[in-house]
Symmetry: C2
Subunit: 223 residues, 2 copies
């Protein structure tokens, strides 16, 4: 049964693969699982029909037969539950990979996401610069700890796992900030993730969707 | 093998059971699993010995034989993996319960936690009131959606699960704010969670630890 996910009809990230369909696409590609995408406009996200699938009116959702899931972390974990490269078979290593997935979403992402919110909603406020400094200090504390733990290794705990997938997806949000430049081992870690063929396929697919939507919404040039 | 978790030697929450050992204690109680607690001072949290277990220098950790885990979400999920009341046996219902656990930590908690950070770190700033209003608007958007989904039901998806456990643990952080007063069904949902015998045992255990630490650190009254 081919699963169907939802994604933004035209992602506000400008096709950079920073929306939450990206880790789900990436996980599906790592698992060798074909999928369909249903695209949703912003108004459609908030309608009852979508809220029946996603109570908070967000993307992505995941539908497969009778199962409807939301939350990118839960969807990636569900996909990773099948035999494949996303979770080790040994139970302890598996539990540790899951811990890194949670660390990505619940420990590293909050200040990273806060920075995005700040840039969108508080850029014109008199306190912007001061708040940016506070948020960046929280991000640096997380990245210092993460770089310390990663050390010279390729991945966070042995082989590449769903934990690395989610951590790379979260760290990618920092590309435009330049913050990763201060962490060469983390920048290399992100680059290793982005170099995986499954990442490339997922990235190209979301980019193609963004480009198609942009062409469709752009008036033709004057004759 | 009795697992050992870590907790604050003296929790900054004043014994209200808002630190992240609480959902882990609660899950252990629901699972009928005895456990030990190792208490850590704030300086000890940041030392290499603890960072070897918890890269970000936080509590809780979970140690059981050869397994060391961190991230309360991952620990609760690990505990919930055993047969018991925390996850349904049917695979689709199980995946949906996991989705609610992620929703608690990655969709509802961020603005709730942001409110706590704001109160600690920005209370003296000239922008405090304005920022509080912005954060509260984000919290209300989440609670509106959550209340809509919960409707008149007791729990989020059928029987009580690890998803409800984590959602209740997150919503409890709002007790002091009064925000839950605007959501009678969510307040009742939280109260249902808090009325579970396993919750009570977990709460009482963390409270007893807090009270003991407070007695120890309080100079005796003058004779």
């Amino acid at each position: 049964m081919t699963p169907t996910i939802t994604a933004f009809a035209q992602s506000p990230d400008g096709g950079r693969g920073l929306a939450r369909d990206m880790p789900v696409r990436w996980a599906l590609e790592e698992a060798g699982q074909a999928y369909r995408v249903r695209f949703l406009s912003f108004p459609a996200l908030k309608e009852p029909a979508h809220r029946a699938l996603q109570p908070f009116g967000q993307i992505p959702t995941y539908q497969e037969g009778d199962l409807t899931l939301f939350e990118s972390g839960a969807i990636v974990l569900h996909i990773a539950g099948r035999p494949g490269p996303l979770l080790p078979a040994e139970p302890n290593a598996r539990a540790r990979a899951v811990a890194w997935l949670f660390a990505a979403l619940n420990t590293v992402e909050p200040p990273v996401f806060d920075r995005s919110l700040l840039q969108v909603f508080e850029r014109e406020q008199p306190w912007y610069a001061q708040r940016l400094q506070m948020v960046d200090a929280r991000i640096h504390a997380r990245l210092d700890a993460l770089a310390q733990r990663l050390g010279p290794a390729d991945w966070l705990d042995g082989a590449f796992s769903a934990g690395d997938l989610m951590m790379v997806a979260v760290l990618r949000r920092l590309h435009a900030s330049g913050i990763l430049n201060a962490y060469p081992t983390l920048a290399a870690y992100v680059a290793r993730g982005e170099a995986r063929p499954a990442f490339r396929r997922a990235f190209d697919a979301q980019r193609a969707a963004f480009d198609a939507a942009t062409r469709e919404n752009t008036p033709p040039p004057p004759a």
